[in-house]
Every structure is written in structure tokens, then in C-alpha cells.
Symmetry: D2
Subunit: 426 residues, 4 copies
């Protein structure tokens, strides 16, 4: 799900650097995968890794090269049909639930496709592309970063379907720190008219703006994320069996799907394990809970006598939190216990641990207008039935996190690195 | 879907009057129905008329009589199972999609059940019931008024399934006035901090409060509803065939369901007819369009280059609109063309014509807290995946309309009297 | 499911008698029903009683009156659309799963429709109708008898959905005889070439012929039906939990549907009850088990180390069993314990107790040819995915039972009065 | 779907030869596939090639090695769970619809698994294994041959989902002979008591026996298969649009699935193409039609005024037809026009062209009894809802075809090489 930029201020050389780095990151992500790993689609909501690697390339070919390089020779004419995602304006496309049928072209061919397109884009940028092209390339890079995270969450989902629980990365567990998280503290914030939304400095997707005033009431926000240990208490207290804790649609989902724990948890001889990108690993009680749906996050908050923050509250707080150092490595791939983060007392784990469900339905900001044309077929069309998540996860590329970023998923989605932080009225 | 009152100020005699009137209104609504009409369930979202008549009675029996009348003898013990709706706290209940299987008790027995309960409630009120009981009876009356409207929309849906298109009421068409609506005018409103939500004077459901401040931007609002004639233009312009006008989920629904016109419209020899409570009738181009979903309302607004109002905008305007005289008759059962309403130039058709879709997802107001106990199992649990509608329809009982009222339905619901009014940023 | 006659030998007065009796029987069956009872459709496989009463009448109107009475005035033009069942050649029809939406016309109107058509048919017969008309009327009568049984099984299914378990007939239980059935005995039959199928003497449906030779091997047949008591042993022995007893499709059904007992059984305080046309009643261990599917009958036979008989074996034995006296009353509505039937040692309970599943898929006899025209749209089109049942049940009209009769249902059907008798190779 | 042998007469060396040849054939079939090709499952009814290659190996490991080689070391303990198919008696197994999730182990590992097991089986056979082991190995070879054909049909299905229509084999079309088939001739056969079923000489599956007498009536059988050209006539004559030609369940399938041509046909610029193992190729009018369901075969026969043969009729004729030379090459992979077969006038194309639908439901022969134990979980459990096909197809391994062979599929299955031959009553 790409989105229109709100601004374009980067000079062309910086864009070329960005392009090279982002494109290389995707290749690195694809390297541990076999041809089969990269081909299979584990559910309609997920896409094959090969598709992510090709679709992001298709974006540059279709949006940047085709209109701007007169003698550009497409790598393969059939790829426009195969790797278009949902752009109704760009013609027919392969049906989403059948993306996993495309065993050919194989992964090596997709890497060759990437090189073909990369060379053409780099040549174009070297010629000193104008502002319009730079903007599109920058958009394409951020679009690709979105797919980098999806590639990881989709591979995790695929590997979780395999009874062998294969590891995407080095299967050795990270050293687990303290087995218990610091006690949570609630920090107070005053109400009033605040400004949220992107201000146009640097890249942002269309739905992050316009920056605008909004009114918030005094509230308190937890200084850290809800942990696995706390989630076990919720489970032990019958949290998944008490309909009064749940939204009506959430309870119906519980009954239909038989949910009784976070998505990737399984019990082995009385101990909780969870599927991770490093294979099945024991659940760390001090680490943030993840792979929970909005329904579960909301029920947990009700059980705890609190609520989820609104996205305005979250962003208001986040604007004053330092991001630096939090996620130097774009691939740590596991949320870290809070005690490893900045010192207690401050608001911690805001960026790069887990996507935090907010209580805010994904809706347009005041005066939001989708842009015209193919690149405008974006976030606006998803503003129905989804909730906003904030903060970025351990699978989010480092340069892709910012306080105004609005991620969104339906309330039953669980395969993302999604967790929660509690709030309450002051 | 009943909901907790925000206040209780009415004296007991007034409550007794309200009770008698509301209970009698339901009986009147049931009278044109045969036993079979009142028994069949036409879809899982609808309920049989008999069920509406019994469930509202069950509410008084369970919430008012059982706890407060020591020697109360239930009319029939099995009715608690049969006519509970969704109150998880009040025990097991008959599955919703099987409500139409209950051919016995018959309609006459349900009327007898109503008389049995009415007599007991009236006796209780005559004794001078205290505030708590008055509050519950008032809540029960408003709850019943909600079901009165649902009874009508559900019967309309049932009769629309019958190829004979039977009429619930006198099948003669109402006289149609001018065949064209007045040109629409957009009236400007200033932005700023406004107050919305119920202030506790008189009855309201829990989700209508608390009254609170909110910030709105300057905007313009259409002075009348979108008409059938305008909808025909949308259809003729390919509105149902252009994916760029639609939310992603809306377009998926179009493809799955084959929608290409409002819910009850059908074409006969090139002319549009619509199913109504008076049978199939020609579509009146000057009357407000109705039985359209949120998806359709949103697509229409996009096509028209405008947007739906937020519920705050709507309520801010509605607070200064006169309601009097608009719906003296609680059963006119057909939205009226705008030229029959108050003079052009003012904002018209705000109350009692059609439920107006807003762009606002149904979400809790700041500091909203559901009440404890069985009567608290209400609106809060539906705050997910639904959009707010405002204003009340031609099927809404007269005393049940107020500016703060928040109705809500999923974005694909079409069987209510739902239409729209356009807005735009100023 | 009507079917073409193989012969027509009855003189017209006899046909008129048959017509009057059959038509009156249907009215009697409809009398205990309320308008609502007669309107609701409890599942797609069942039809409303009103529909059965109207459809059988539509058959006479469309097949007999319309082509043969020049000045015949249809009772209501819309009924051709409403009450056609599946005859593709007779035009559009109301979709089967929506038969329960037709609350109007009401039951009284359907009775009036019946009288209108009866008068016209009787007048036609009095004029001395020729052979073709007599044949069609006779066919219509047998068609109607099929629907009489379906009316009863469908009402039973509807009433079983009602938690109140209403009784169609006098709810007092029949006196239960001995609590144990006689021990079953297996009677030997020689193999060889035998003749089966209808020989053209008297009425039969098309699929009952042609009479033809077939080769059977020596076998033994149980002298009575499997009882409820034996079924309880099967259940107690884990019959519903051992996949090795089941056909693959049967086991899949078990897992999907959660079957663990006959269709209408429920446990109350440790005792088995079953829903009947006289309401919920204790299960009689000596009575034949009924409302079991082919899957269950086959699994039971495997568990018992035996098999179901083929239809040729069954018919070969049945041809020499007396039918007289077995079912003088066409509506006893409950299968009787075997000890009440003819003396032990003989083959008992062949006619009018329960439909007996055979191991034979419903397939055409050698040289079978469907007849041309609308009345030919019959049994032939169902010769796929169904198994043959023989013998007739306690709900089958008396004159509708004969040794050559081939009933058929899919292997998961349970709402008919279907049971079984065991066989084994000699 | 393996099945119990009826006999075991082969000496051990012959079995060892058979084993080596069959095992090598599977490897050859797998060679053209990429890791991804071999991993993806294109529909629940199909299995990945990797699964076929592993499951057939699992059979030898579990049924032959584990019970008979005391120090046998399984290649990988987890494979018992992954590659069990449906044997309830051998423990838990991976759910069938999730077979395509197993990206690891990869294809190379599966080939290594095969070598590991092959070495152990060959060592066992060299020791001079007794009759029981020889029997099991022979059974395993025939089981594997069944999966060889399925591997091809499943790969064809997978490649047909890919818009690029990749070729499994050399994409050059075979030379097409005459564009028109010889006129069909019907050859007469006398009725009477005949013997069918396997007589115990050589290998056969359990359901092929016991050999038994059956009675057939005089009939005529077409001397060749129905051709693509004849199928085009059926289509042009509205065959897919006339409900009177179809079984009721078949017509429902037509409406739901939108069938209007054989499974793999598509139109390009007015010409019919069909997907084959050599990629998309023009339809050859003289070649036998294939990839049609029983529903379509039956409707075609009705349209042609004829019928499908019974399996007894087919086998009776087949017993006197020469098989030699018909399919020396086990992988020609495309049915050949009849004029290329033995001279006109005789019954042609009986073996190795397409599987021929018969009108016979798959049912047990007289005195059929499934064998005890895990290998007995076979054909018997599928004797419900399926129809018998005879003759073998162009994808059937040469040594796997015999006159008594009973293949079976549900009436809507189309992805096998299934066609038809007509018959009529004499």
C-alpha cells in the first residue's frame, strides 16, 4: 500500500543514495529464501516474497521508467499483468489470491528483473532527473520499504504453517534479559488544542496530512508496552472466555476462530512458545506482546480497566520522544524488553518495537484530498473498517519510522508485529 | 439495540403516559400483519415482527418486573430463552438466525403476552414507582421505539422478497408533488470549538454522551438531501461501474453482490420502481434517495466532488434547526420531497426524512464509559466497523428523534431508510 | 419429486375416487397447522407446508386443466411462478431457498385455491375424461402423495428447530410395548437370475421400470429392522468416533457437523429423547431406529460385521412378503416395534415402518428412458449422488407403498423417516 | 489412493526390477520441475509434486522398512507427519489443504530421502525377502504409479493457473495428423452372463475383485472416443445452456461455476486453445476430448441420443482388445487421434488415451471385503459419490493399465485426463 508524498525536498543525489540502499535492502531480505519459500502464498492477505520483490520493481518500471525513458525496454511484457497490485487505472492484473501460483518466473529471474530496472533508474537519476522524477523515486523507495516489512511478516506467516517451524534467520535465541519487565507507570498529559499530522518537511504519505489542529482531553499514557507476562495474566484470568470484555464483532471472531492466545503462541509441555523469524522460541515474559489483533488489544484494555490511546494522543506524546538509537539496525526482528530501552520514567518503546493499536478508526484528516491519477489510488480507499497503528515495529526499516506515520489494519489482523500500550482519562 | 439513559428527569405519571403510548403504538404497527407475516425472518440481520413485539415485552418483564415485583408470575418461562436478544449476562438465548423458526407461540399469544406484562407494569407505576424503576421503564420505552422502526424496515425487507410485492399499508400512492426538487444550496458554517453530545436534559442513550467540546473546521452543508433524480444521474454516469469512486471494500461488495442501483429499485419497462411499505411504486425523482449503503453514499459524494458531513458538523447545524411539525405523524412511512418542507434557503429535511450517513465511524465520545450490569451491554460493544447516521427517518417514531441521536450501521447495510446530504470544506 | 407412470389401467371413476381421497388427505394433513406453521421453510431441502399444498394443486392446474379445459380460469396468474418446483420447461420459477418468504397468499387462500382446482378437475373427470387425462390425474395423485410425506417430514424438521418442541399431533405418547425387541434372525435366500422392477400392472413411476432380469448371489437378510436399542450399543461402543467404520465422505461429515447420535435425539438428564410429530418423547429401545443417514447406516453395518442389502435383494424378498394390514392407517406416524408385527421367523417390517437404506446408488435400470416433455423432467435427472431406500415409512400414505418403489436421497440426508435392515453374504 | 493387492505371484528378483524401474520413473518425472514448481499446491484436490515424491517414499519406509528392518534409521522423524496421506491408523498427519505450505524440506532433500529409502529397500530385497515383503513392495510400486499420474495432472493444473502457461515438457506441438477423425462406428455385443473383475493372476487392487458373474443386456459400443471436433458441435448447439440435457447436480454446477467448455480450453481470437503439459496449444479436432467431468460426459451422451457404457460392458469388450503396442512410452502425455491407432472397424483407443467415464457408480463388487490393517484403508472408503472410469490415459504409466482397472472420481472432477466413449442399447 504505497501512498502519495506530501512533499519532495530531497536533492537528486540523495535520492540516488536512498534508491541504492533501499533496493539493496530488499535483496538482502530475499537472500535467505529458497525459490519455493519465495513463491508460496500462505493466505490471501499475504503475498509471496517473490511478488514483493517484483511488485516493488514493477512500480519503478511503470511509474518512473515507462513515462520518462523513451527507449526503455521492459524486462518482460507479461510482468505488468503479473505484478500490478491493485491499481485499477493501470490495467488488468493477476488476482490477489492466486499470487502463489506463479512458480515461474523463478526467484533468480526476479533478481535479474530487479537489476535490469535498477540500472535503468540509476542511469535516469545520473542524468539529473527533475523534481517530478525524484519525487516518484522517493515515493517508490518508501513504497518498497512498506513491502520490506510485509515480506518479513508474510514469510513469518508462511513458516508458521510448516510443522517444522523453520527459521528465516539464525535460529539461536537472542539472549533474554531480565525475566520481568519494570512496573508500568502512567505519565500525565494536559489536554488542549494540539497540532498533529505531517508538516511537509521530508517524505510522508498522503494520509499523514494535512497537519491540523485537534482537541484532546487530559490523559495518562503508559510508559511502556504491554508485555507477554501481562498477557499471560489476562489469559489466566479467563480473558478469552468472558464476552463482556469484547466488542461484539470480536466475540464473534473468538467463537468462529477459536482464539485463546496470541497468534503464534503454542503450548509445549505446559510452556508457551511463539513462532518467530528465528523459529519457535520460548515466550519472554518481559518482552512486549505482539501478533495480537485490535479485538484482543481492546479486550485487554477493558480487562485492565483502561483504554487504548487515540492516534492524536499517541502522536502528541511521540512528537517529543527521541527516536535516535532506537533502531539503528533495521532488522533486529524481535521486540526488546523495555528495560533495555531508555531509562524508566520516560515514555519508552515508542518507535520500532511493535506497531501499537490505537482506538482510532483510519479516517481522513480534515481537508485531506487524494491526489489524481494512478499514484493517487492509495490510502484513501482503505478508510473504512480499519484501525490506526502507530510507532513501527522491529520489522520496520529504520528510515521508515516517524511520529506521523499512520499504519492501518482490520481489527482481526494478527500477522503483523502488532501490540499495544494502555492509556486512561486524566 | 437499546442503550443506557444519560438522565432520568421525568415524573412517574409522565412515564406511565409514555409507557401506554409507546406500547399501544407497537400494537398498532403489528395489526396489519398476519401470523405468518409476523413470524418469518427474511435475513439474519432482520427479525420477525413477532420477535420485535415479544422482545420489547421481555425487556420490561426481565429488567423491570422480575427484580421489582416480588409475586410476579412470568407469562411463560420459556420466553426468557426465546426473546432475549444478545444480553450475555441474562443467560442462554435462541440463536439470532433461527428467530424465524418460532411459529409457535403465535401472534395472538404474543399480544396476550404484551397485555399480561403491560398490566403488571402499569400496576407497578400506579403504586408510584421510584426513580430507578421510572428510569428503566423510560429506557424500555425508547428501546421499544427503536424496535418499532426495525419492525417496519424488517417487514419491508420481507415483503420485498415476495414476488407479489404485498403492501403493508394502503397501497394507493401518496400524491406526488413537483417532479423536481429545488436546486440544492450550500450554507456556510464557521469552524471552532463547539459542544456536541447530550447534556442530560431528557432521555438519551449512553453513547450520546458525555457532552463535550470538539474542534471543527469551516464547512458548507447542503440545505437538502440528495434526491432520487440526482441518484439516477449518478447511475447514468456509470457511478456503479467506476472503481475509482469507491472505497476498496465497497468496490469488492459491488462485484460480489452485483449492486447497480438502490436496494429496492427494480426496472419495469424502462421505468424505475421501488418497493415501499405501500407496495411497489414509481420512483419519485424529487424525493430523497433512500436504502443506499454507506459505500454508495460515499461513492456518490466522491462523484459529486464533495464529501459526507462528520457527525459533529451535522449535530452542530442540527442543534439550531427547528424540529417541530416535521413529523407529527410517526408513521408517514415515506420521505417527502424537500419543497414540502420549510422554505428554501434554510437547512431542510434534517429530522424524520431519512437517516443521513455521516463520514464518522461509530466511536466512543471522550470519557464515555459503559454502565455496569445487563443494561450496560449496549452500544459500546458495537463501536467497531460501523458508521454513524443522523436525523431519523420517515419510519422513526416521532418522539424518538433528537439532534444528539447516534444511529449506526455497517457500511454495507441497505435495508434501513438511509440516505445522504452532501458537505464540503469551506 | 413426481415421476412418470409406467402404465394407466384405471377406469375414470376409480381415478375420480382416488383424486377425491388424495386431495382430501392433504387437506387433513394441513388442518393442524397455523398460517405461520404452514409458511416457514426450515432449511433449503425442506419446503413450507403451504408450498406443498399449493404446488400439488399447481400440478393439476398446469398439467391437467390448462391444456384440456378451454375456458379454464386460473385461480391466480402469479401462482405459476410461485409454485412451480423445478420444471425447467414450464418457465421461470421462484427460487427454492426462498419458498419461506411467501407469507402471502395465506393458508386460507391456498385452501381456496385447492377447492377451485378440485372443482374443475372433478368436472372434467365427470365428463368422462379420456385415457390421457386419467393418466395425468393418476400421476398427479401419486405426486401429491409424495408431497404428503414430505409435508410431514418438513413440519417435523421445522418443529424440531423450535426450543418448545411443539407437537403436530396429540402429544400423548403411544403406549410402548415390550422394552426389548425380539432377537434378530437372518433368513437365507438363494442366488440366481431374478426379475425386479415394475411390470406395468397398476401405477408406478418411470424409474421403477422396466422390469428386467438381474443376477444376485446367495445372501441372508435380517428379519427385522435395526432398533434404537442396538443403535445405543453402537454409540456406546464409540461408533461415531472410529474413522475406520466410516466412508471417507461420511467421516468428513461427522467432523463438520458434529454428529454423534440420530438426527432428532437429544439427551435430557442422561435419558435419550427424540423429536417426533407428537413432540419430544423418550426413545423406545424396541422401536426401529430412524432419522439416520446413509453414512450412519453404512457405518453401523460395518460395525456389526454385516452390510446393507442391495435394492435387488430387498425387492426380491419383498415381492413375497404380504403387505396387507401393515399400514391400514396412513398416518400412524411412528414406526412400531417389531414384536407388534407378524410373527417372528418371517421377514417383518418391510412396508410402512421406516425407509430402508440400501447399498444401491440410484441409477437407471437397463433400457430406462425418461419420457419426453414437462412430465418427463423427473427421476432421471437425480440419478447421481443418491442412494435408494425401499419399503415406505410410517409417514408414507397407505396406497403409496409397493415392492418396486424406489425412493432416493443423498447419503447425508437425515430428516426423512430413514432406518436400516442388515444383510450378509451367504 | 493405493489399494490392496488381490494376489502376489511375482518372484523377488522381478519385484526388485519393478521397484528400481518405478522409483526411477518418478525421479524422471520430477526432474523438469523447479523447487517452487514442486512445492505449490494449486487446489485442495491436487498435491504438490514434492509431496507425491515424498509420500510414495513414506509408504515404503512405513509399510516395508519400519516393520521389517530392525535397525532401520528413518531419514527424518518429522516426515511421518508430513507425508502420511489419509491413513487414520498410522497416526496424525498434516492437513491435506496445507500440503503446499511445506517449502522446506526442499526438492533436493526429497530426492535424498528417496535415495535413502531406495537403498534400504533394495538391500532388503537382495537378502531375499519373503512373500509378504514382496507383496508390500509390489503394492508400493503400483501405489507409486498412481501418484506418477497424479503428479502430472496436478502439475498441469498448477501450470494452467499461471497466466504465462508454462510448459512442463518440450513446448513444441506434436505433429497433428488428419484434422478430422474417422466416422464413429457402433459395434454390437450380445448380452448374457459374463465374468468381470480381476482373477488373481498378477497384481490388482482390492476393488478390482472378486471376479464374479454379472448379467448384461445386448448393447452397441462406439469404436472410438468422442473427439474435440464433436465436442465443439455440442457447444455450438447450446449444449452448455440447455438444462434438459443435464443431471440436476450437473446443472447446478454449470450455474455456479460458469462452465461452458472443457476445463483447460480458452478462446484466443476465435480459436480454441487448450492447456497441455507442453503449454497452451490449439485444440486438435480429431483428438479425443479430455478434461471433461462426468456431468459433461453424461450431458453430451444425452445430447447425442446415446448413453455412457456401464463398467461391465466396457470390461467385457476390453477383455478381448489387444493392449500391446498401445502405450510403449509411458509419457506421451497427449491422447492421440484415432486414426493413428489400430485399423478402423475394430474397437480402438481402449487403453492409454483418456480415462473413459462409465455410467457406473463406484461400488463394491459382490463379496468384496476390505483387508484388515493400515493397508486396508483404501478404495472401500471412497465407494460413495464417485463414478468409475476405465482404460487409462496418456499420463498413465504403461505397466499400470489393465482391463479390470477401476479408476474413480467425483462427477465434477475435470483435472484428470478424462473423456468418454458412447454406447447404446441394442
Amino acid at each position: 500500500m504505497p501512498a502519495l508524498p506530501l512533499s519532495d525536498s530531497r536533492p537528486s543525489p540523495a535520492i540516488a543514495d536512498l534508491f541504492r540502499r533501499v533496493r539493496q535492502d530488499s535483496v538482502s531480505l530475499g537472500k535467505p529464501l529458497s525459490d519455493a519459500d519465495a513463491t508460496v502464498q500462505s493466505m490471501p492477505d499475504a503475498s509471496p516474497a517473490k511478488w514483493h520483490l517484483a511488485h516493488t520493481t514493477w512500480f519503478f518500471e511503470t511509474m518512473v521508467l515507462a513515462p520518462n525513458v523513451s527507449d526503455y525496454r521492459p524486462f518482460d511484457q507479461s510482468f505488468n499483468y503479473l505484478f500490478n497490485s491493485y491499481y485499477e487505472t493501470v490495467g488488468e492484473r493477476h488476482p490477489r489470491p492466486k499470487r502463489g501460483m506463479i512458480t515461474r518466473p523463478d526467484l533468480a529471474t526476479i533478481f535479474a528483473y530487479r537489476e535490469h530496472v535498477d540500472a535503468a533508474v540509476e542511469a535516469l537519476l545520473e542524468q539529473g532527473a527533475g523534481e517530478e522524477i525524484s519525487t516518484l523515486v522517493e515515493l517508490g523507495c518508501h513504497h518498497e520499504q512498506q513491502h520490506q516489512e510485509l515480506l518479513l511478516t508474510d514469510i513469518l506467516h508462511l513458516f508458521a504453517q510448516n510443522p517444522l517451524r523453520p527459521a528465516y534467520k539464525d535460529p539461536q535465541p537472542l539472549a533474554v534479559g531480565a525475566s520481568e519487565a519494570d512496573p508500568v507507570q502512567y505519565k500525565s498529559f494536559e489536554g488542549g488544542i494540539v497540532e498533529i499530522g505531517h508538516d511537509g518537511q521530508g517524505f510522508a504519505f498522503d494520509s499523514e496530512g494535512p497537519r491540523h489542529r485537534t482537541l484532546i482531553e487530559p490523559f495518562r499514557l503508559a510508559d511502556r508496552l504491554v508485555t507477554n507476562g501481562e498477557w499471560m495474566e489476562f489469559m489466566a484470568d479467563g480473558g478469552y472466555r468472558d464476552p463482556l470484555l469484547w466488542l461484539s464483532a470480536g466475540w464473534a471472531t473468538i467463537l468462529t476462530e477459536g482464539w485463546d492466545r496470541p497468534f503464534y503462541w503454542e503450548e509445549r509441555d505446559g510452556e508457551h512458545f511463539t513462532m518467530t523469524l528465528r523459529g519457535a522460541q520460548p515466550v519472554d515474559p518481559a518482552a512486549p506482546v505482539t501478533h495480537v489483533s485490535y479485538f484482543e488489544a481492546d479486550a485487554f484494555a477493558t480487562w485492565a480497566g483502561r483504554r487504548l490511546p487515540s492516534e492524536a494522543e499517541w502522536e502528541h506524546v511521540a512528537a517529543s520522544c527521541p527516536m535516535a538509537g532506537n533502531f539503528a539496525d533495521s532488522g533486529h526482528l524481535r521486540p526488546r524488553p523495555a528495560q533495555n530501552a531508555a531509562g524508566a520514567g520516560e515514555i519508552r518503546q515508542m518507535f520500532g518495537d511493535v506497531w501499537e493499536w490505537t482506538r482510532s478508526p483510519f479516517a481522513p484528516y480534515p481537508r485531506f484530498k487524494p491526489v489524481e491519477g494512478a499514484v493517487g489510488e492509495y490510502n484513501g480507499k482503505f478508510m473504512c473498517g480499519q484501525f490506526v497503528l502507530r510507532g513501527g515495529s522491529c520489522a520496520t526499516p529504520g528510515g521508515h519510522i516517524r511520529p506521523t506515520y499512520r499504519n492501518f489494519f482490520p481489527p482481526d489482523a494478527r500477522w503483523q508485529f502488532s501490540g499495544l500500550r494502555l492509556a486512561e482519562d486524566a
